[in-house]
Symmetry: C2
Subunit: 448 residues, 2 copies
Amino acid sequence: MATKTLAQWATNLSPSSLPASVRQAAVKSLYNYIGCAIGGSNHPAVTKAYDALSPFFGPATSSLYGSKGAVKTDAQHAALLNGIASHVHDYDDTHLATIIHPTGPVASAVLAYAEYKGSITGPEVLCALTAGIEASCKIGLAVWPEHYDIGWHITSSTGSVGAAVGVGKLMKLSEEQMAHAIGLAAVQVVGLREMFGSDTKSFHPGRAAQSGLLAALLAEKGYTSSPQALEAKRGWANVVAGGGTPKLEHYLSELGQKWEIEANAFKPFPCGIVCHPAIDGCIQLHQELQSKGLKPALIQKIEARVHPLVIELTSKRTPKDGLESKFSVFHGAAVGLLYGKAGPAQYADEVVRDQTVIDIRDKIDATADESLAADETYLTLYFADGSKLEKHTKHAVGSLEVPMSEEQLTEKFVDQAALVLSEGARQASDAAWKISEATDVAEVLRML
Amino acid sequence: MATKTLAQWATNLSPSSLPASVRQAAVKSLYNYIGCAIGGSNHPAVTKAYDALSPFFGPATSSLYGSKGAVKTDAQHAALLNGIASHVHDYDDTHLATIIHPTGPVASAVLAYAEYKGSITGPEVLCALTAGIEASCKIGLAVWPEHYDIGWHITSSTGSVGAAVGVGKLMKLSEEQMAHAIGLAAVQVVGLREMFGSDTKSFHPGRAAQSGLLAALLAEKGYTSSPQALEAKRGWANVVAGGGTPKLEHYLSELGQKWEIEANAFKPFPCGIVCHPAIDGCIQLHQELQSKGLKPALIQKIEARVHPLVIELTSKRTPKDGLESKFSVFHGAAVGLLYGKAGPAQYADEVVRDQTVIDIRDKIDATADESLAADETYLTLYFADGSKLEKHTKHAVGSLEVPMSEEQLTEKFVDQAALVLSEGARQASDAAWKISEATDVAEVLRML
């Protein structure tokens, strides 16, 4: 029943049936996504992919956001390339219960298709995005945590289904077609955690977007799949659950009751979310040091007690470049302490290799403490005179308890866009905030 | 080391280093593939996919074989569509130790790229095809049987890696680039067994071809992956092994020593290979009945003792159409007995719904016998007068012990092509046999 349940729910969802809080979460998710896609657009991974694939581009209908300026490509390649760009700085959003970054795969497909199709409204896009994100997160919950533990990159391994559902909404697929689209997406399982630290990590959500779009396109023309694609003995959930017992029925029964998009958080720092509490604490300590007139160079030792996942995922002691530094809680903490900021500019290669940063980084000890919550950290700075400074971060900024405000989201967007666009970062931000009210989203997307 | 071992071996393989028997196996595999791709080209699944995707086609460089006539599309879509066509009648080849149908994903990508690139010779294509097939089958062996048991369609789940290696050979990738291509392909795991019986089954090898091509294209431009993509704790093999212990090192150490392509068999009948022994036996019984002047209608009951996998995979008692009949040992046996033939024409919808066929089909009992080999069957026909006729098939035609001859392969090709092409089936066959000697394979492919 799970595939049918999801197809039926998604098919019946309408823009007017979204609760206001859900709609607001979708607006923020979409806005944050566009900022990230612009911010990542001039990353070498995107450039390499663009160069590799431009000989195969079809009719230019769908924009590549950001640095490629007015460049368009066919919808399938736009979904792939914007999807890569949106994730390449590890700066996107996070559904905290599953560590899924849900908007990238869904929005990359939905927007590329909307611009191709034309005359699709902002509210329709929000509805499609919401349907897709609910799909990804619910099936992700059903196989969490075993699925992630054995090594799947859960953002993309669930993202193709979300993208198919999202595009399927814009196509107004019938329930039966939607089920086929879900099945066609479910057989394209993309993303292994082994790729973290290489270009292929960001390929994952891009390819998931493209795979989901492809699934919906085929289903629209009557291509058939299994109506039990998700729940069958040899369907998606059992195959990818890694020995766990998928709880599809349970989570899908909550569709429309409990909205996962409301639990979508936005990253304040362009790196793995697990090290955000330590960075947040260090930024607060930077401010305290400043107010006391103390220089970070006076610090002799820094102790961090962190959740065990921080050590497991982000313990690169000596990152060589910006990419590796995203998997280094030590780098994030160091720039937080030194500069009071850990934005894209602080993850540039030059900063990672800066001796001042390295000196602070090497003074940091991090120990796993199983008693801590995932977004909690204790930091202690030790000074030469024997004094110390402590900071307990109970919830990091960007968590559900301390969400980023619209102003903080705008600053994040503009900071990213300013690094990529020669001008117009603020205008792009204004346009992106308004996309949800557009009568034809294609007109807005062309301006990004 | 597994990823490096495979990349190194593939990079060093040259057309002149292929043993004659390997070269001959590659020629047959390629020829058989082309016949199947032509034969499947007017199947509704291919037509639906073509209609869905034609708005996105890029520059027309690569041919769609068969019914689409002189139609070309971009190499990525050609890989997808030809890959679907090659598998849609379940008539392709089989690496018996893994039940992988290895040529579809690899050849669909290699030929589409060769035609795009131009000036690629027949021997280069054979070398690329061989490298790709060895890659797919070796990594398939490493995760067999657990990988298949939990529900992956092993043809496509290994096929993207094979396709990437094959295309990578034509690109003359460095060893490092080849390793990245393998990694990029390994994260695109396509194909669930739940889809058997729907259009999505044939989508699997097509998408694997396209995914492998994409992986090689990205790697060629420096897109990076993990150098331990296959063997890492959270790399391909461990993630997809379904609880088994992958034996990558063992099988990859045999690269170039033991050639899997030599163990590639060609299907004499367009259906799941497990029911071939029963069909072969029924065709032999048809000939005996004819020589004795006995009509099949005189048969009261037919007993078949078969390998348990036959019951597990092909026990559809009342198939509704041609597609379902491929998963019915009863249908295959019935047309074998009635017509002495089980080619594509005998799997048409009309034949499946023909009352004469249904009458015979309903007289068949099949029981699993664990003592039998996978390609062995005992058949007994019971007649109204109390007499009976028995047939023991020790090895089915198309097995390694009773391989299809070049004449049988040619008949298979021409039978398929004649159903699709208004004329020129024999000429297409002649061209396909000669592709391995071409100085530019693009010139031959245009004629198909």
